[in-house]
C-alpha cells in the first residue's frame, strides 16, 4: 500500500480548460451586419429563438468603427457547425428572420470560454467582443497544496476509493464529505441507486477522525478487488466498462436496464447517487446535532433557490438588509447560553467532498446547492461529468456559489483497474 502515495497528484480543474491567450478555443457562429435601428428587435428575437447559453461571455452585437467615423453593427445569429459552411443548417426560426430582414449571414469565430485574465480577454476581443469578469474569489488549493494538506487530501481520497469497492464485485461511486478545518469526516456514502438497504456501515453519519479512513484501507473488503485481476486482462475496456456499470454517475440513464443484485425486498432509487446520499447524511447530522434550534433558519438557503430578480430593486434590497440587522440582534439574544449555536455550519459551507468519479450534472448541481467548497474527484466521467468533462459547472457565472474542483491523480492500481 505504501508504494502508491508518491505518484499521487492533485490538479486544479479551472473554470475552463487552460490554453495560451492566443490559442483559445473558438466556436463558429453565424453573424450578419445589421441596420442599427433593428438591433433591439433582432437581439430580443434572437435571444428567444437562439439563446447563446454556452456563450454568455460573448456579446451578441459587435460594433466596428469604419473609416470616416462610421460604425457598423453585426449580430450573432446562432451557433454554426464546426465543419459545415452551409447556411441551411440554421434553425428554421433564424432562417425566417434572415429572410424577413434580408440579412446576409456569414460564419465567424468567437471564443468558446470566458477570459480568465486580461490578456486572454484582449485576445478574445480581436475575434469578437466578449465581457470579462476578473475572479473575485480565492479558495485554498487553487494555487497549490502544501505537504500536509496534500497528505490529508490523499488520505480522504483513499477512504473514498475503499468505499467504492462494493460487495458485489463491482465498483460504485463513493462520496466522503469532510470538514477540512478539523480533518473530520462529516458523512460518507456509496451509490444506492440499485439498492439502499445494504447492511453495511458505509453510510455511517457519525463523525470520525482522520485515523479512521486510514484504518479502513486494510479493511477485508479490499480483498474483493484482487478478484478483478482475473476478470481484467490489461487494457480491456469492455471488461472495465462492465466493472464500472455500477457507478451511477457514469451511467445515469441506464438505471432501468440494471438488474438488482439483491432480492426484491430491497428499495432502489435511480437518483440515489453517492453525492446525493452523502448530502442527505450530512443534512441528517446537521438536524441531529442542532436539533434544539427548531425553526431558527438561514435566509440565504432560500435565496439560493431562486433568482435575483425578486430582490433586485434597491428598495427591496434595502428592506431585506434592514431585516438582517434586526435578525442579527435576535441571533445574538438567541445564541446566549447556547455556545454551540454559533458553530452551526450553514449547509456544507467550508466543507470538501471526495468522489471517486467526477459527478454527473445532477450530483454536481446538488453539491453547488449544498454549498460544498471544494470537490475532489479521482476519475473523469466522460459520459456525464459536469465538472470538466461534458459540462463545467465551475465556470457557470450565474451560480452564485463559488467552489473549486480538483482531480486527484491516482496510481492505476488503486482500483486495480486501468483507467
Amino acid at each position: 500500500m505504501n508504494k502508491t502515495t508518491d505518484s499521487w497528484e492533485i490538479l486544479h480543474i479551472p473554470d475552463k480548460p487552460p490554453t495560451p491567450p492566443d490559442q483559445q478555443p473558438t466556436v463558429n457562429v453565424f453573424a450578419s451586419v445589421i441596420e442599427p435601428k433593428l438591433t433591439n428587435t433582432l437581439v430580443r428575437r434572437l435571444n428567444q429563438i437562439a439563446p447563446l447559453e454556452a456563450l454568455r461571455h460573448v456579446k451578441r452585437v459587435q460594433k466596428k468603427y469604419l473609416e470616416g467615423g462610421k460604425t457598423q453593427l453585426s449580430v450573432i445569429l446562432c451557433l454554426a457547425c464546426e465543419n459545415d459552411n452551409q447556411l441551411d443548417s440554421m434553425p428554421h426560426g433564424v432562417q425566417e428572420l434572415v429572410n424577413f430582414y434580408q440579412l446576409s449571414p456569414f460564419i465567424t469565430k468567437v471564443c468558446k470560454f470566458d477570459a480568465l485574465s486580461k490578456e486572454e480577454w484582449e485576445e478574445q476581443c480581436k475575434l469578437w467582443p466578449t465581457s470579462y469578469h476578473p475572479p473575485t474569489y480565492n479558495i485554498d488549493g487553487i494555487t497549490g497544496f502544501g505537504q500536509e494538506d496534500s497528505q490529508s487530501v490523499f488520505s480522504f481520497m483513499k477512504f473514498a476509493v475503499e468505499l467504492a469497492k462494493s460487495d458485489h464485485g463491482l465498483v460504485v461511486n463513493a462520496a466522503v464529505i469532510v470538514d477540512p478545518s478539523v480533518k473530520q469526516v462529516i458523512a460518507s456514502a456509496c451509490d444506492e441507486s440499485c439498492c439502499w438497504n445494504t447492511p453495511t456501515n458505509k453510510t455511517s453519519i457519525r463523525p470520525c477522525s482522520l485515523k479512521q479512513p486510514e484504518a479502513c484501507i486494510s479493511h477485508p473488503d479490499s480483498n474483493i478487488v484482487v478478484t478483478h485481476d482475473s476478470l481484467l486482462p490489461n487494457g480491456s475496456t469492455t471488461k472495465l466498462e462492465q466493472l464500472c456499470t455500477g457507478v451511477s454517475c457514469l451511467y445515469p440513464w441506464q438505471w432501468s436496464e440494471k438488474q438488482p443484485h439483491t432480492p426484491n425486498s430491497c428499495y432502489w432509487h435511480p437518483l440515489r447517487h453517492a453525492a446525493l446520499v452523502a448530502i442527505e447524511s450530512s443534512a441528517a447530522r446537521d438536524r441531529q446535532l442542532f436539533s434544539g434550534l427548531g425553526d431558527f433558519e438561514d435566509k440565504s438557503s432560500e435565496l439560493d433557490h431562486m433568482q435575483s430578480s425578486f430582490t433586485s430593486s434597491p428598495a427591496k434590497r434595502q428592506k431585506i438588509n434592514l431585516n438582517n440587522v434586526e435578525d442579527d440582534e435576535k441571533l445574538d439574544t438567541l445564541t446566549e447560553g447556547h455556545h454551540c449555536i454559533s458553530a452551526r455550519p450553514y449547509l456544507c459551507t467550508g466543507y470538501d467532498i471526495y468522489l471517486v468519479w467526477e459527478p454527473c450534472t445532477m450530483c454536481a448541481m446538488a453539491l453547488v446547492h449544498q454549498r460544498i467548497r471544494r470537490i475532489f474527484y479521482a476519475f473523469p466521467n466522460l459520459n456525464a461529468g459536469a465538472l470538466g468533462s461534458v459540462y463545467r459547472l465551475q465556470g457557470e457565472k450565474s451560480l452564485n456559489h463559488r467552489f473549486a474542483v480538483f482531480r486527484v491523480l491516482l496510481p492505476e492500481e488503486v482500483l486495480d483497474v486501468k483507467l
Binding site: 428567444q48 447559453e53 448530502i279 443534512a283 438582517n324 450534472t361 448541481m365 456525464a384
Partner: protein, 191 residues
C-alpha cells in the same frame, strides 16, 4: 420553448393551479414557495413542495420530493424497474418554477415525458435558462462531445405571474428568524 398559454388546455391550468397550491403550502412553512404535481393519465399521482429549509438539505426541491413519493409508492406496489421506467415515460410534471439544473438532470435521468413550468429560473434553470438539459442528446456541449441523455418536452410561462407573485411575497416579507446571510445581498442583486 417558453410559449405562455399557447396550446394549453384547461387541464394544464388546473394542474398548474394544484402546483401553486403546493407552493403556497411551502410559503406557509417559510420555505421558498415552489410546488409541483406529477400527472399520469390525467390524474395527479404525486405532489411536492420545496423543503430545503426544514430539512437542512438544499437538494430537497419540490420535484425531488414528488419523485420520491412516486418511486416509493410504485415499489411498494411491486413494480419492477422496467415497469417504473415505462410509467414515468408517460408522466407530466407541472411545476411553478423552471426546474433547476439538478432537477432537470434528474428528470432526464428518470425519462419524464413532458414538463410544464411557470416562471423561468434565470440563475439555476436547467430547461433553457442556464443549461438546456431538456434537449437531451441534441445539445452541443463544451467538450464538443454530444452529451447522452433523454430529453423531454418543456413548456414555460404557464401561470408565471402567480408563481412570481408567490416568490415575491416570500422575498419581500423576509424571514423574521433569518440570521445574516453569508454573502452580501447586494451581490445577489447585481444581475
Amino acid at each position: 420553448m417558453a410559449s405562455p398559454g399557447e396550446e394549453c388546455s384547461p387541464d394544464t391550468f388546473a394542474f398548474m393551479e394544484l402546483a401553486i397550491q403546493q407552493a403556497k403550502l411551502a410559503l406557509d412553512s417559510l420555505e421558498v414557495p415552489v410546488g409541483c404535481v406529477i400527472v399520469e393519465d390525467g390524474k395527479v399521482i404525486a405532489s411536492g413542495r420545496n423543503q430545503t429549509t426544514e430539512t437542512r438539505n438544499a437538494t430537497r426541491h419540490a420535484e425531488m420530493e414528488a419523485i420520491d413519493v412516486l418511486l416509493e409508492g410504485w415499489q411498494r406496489n411491486g413494480l419492477s424497474k422496467l415497469e417504473v421506467a415505462k410509467k414515468i415515460s408517460k408522466c407530466y410534471l407541472y411545476v411553478t418554477c423552471e426546474p433547476c439544473i439538478m432537477c432537470a438532470a434528474a428528470l432526464s435521468i428518470l425519462g419524464i415525458k413532458e414538463v410544464f413550468y411557470g416562471c423561468a429560473n434565470d440563475k439555476f434553470g436547467g430547461c433553457g435558462s442556464i443549461l438546456s438539459l431538456n434537449l437531451g442528446r441534441s445539445e452541443p456541449c463544451e467538450s464538443g462531445a454530444v452529451p447522452q441523455g433523454k430529453g423531454f418536452k418543456c413548456n414555460g410561462g404557464i401561470m408565471a405571474s402567480e408563481a412570481v407573485s408567490l416568490l415575491r411575497t416570500f422575498y419581500e416579507q423576509g424571514n423574521p428568524n433569518a440570521p445574516k446571510p453569508h454573502r452580501p445581498l447586494a451581490h445577489q442583486a447585481t444581475r
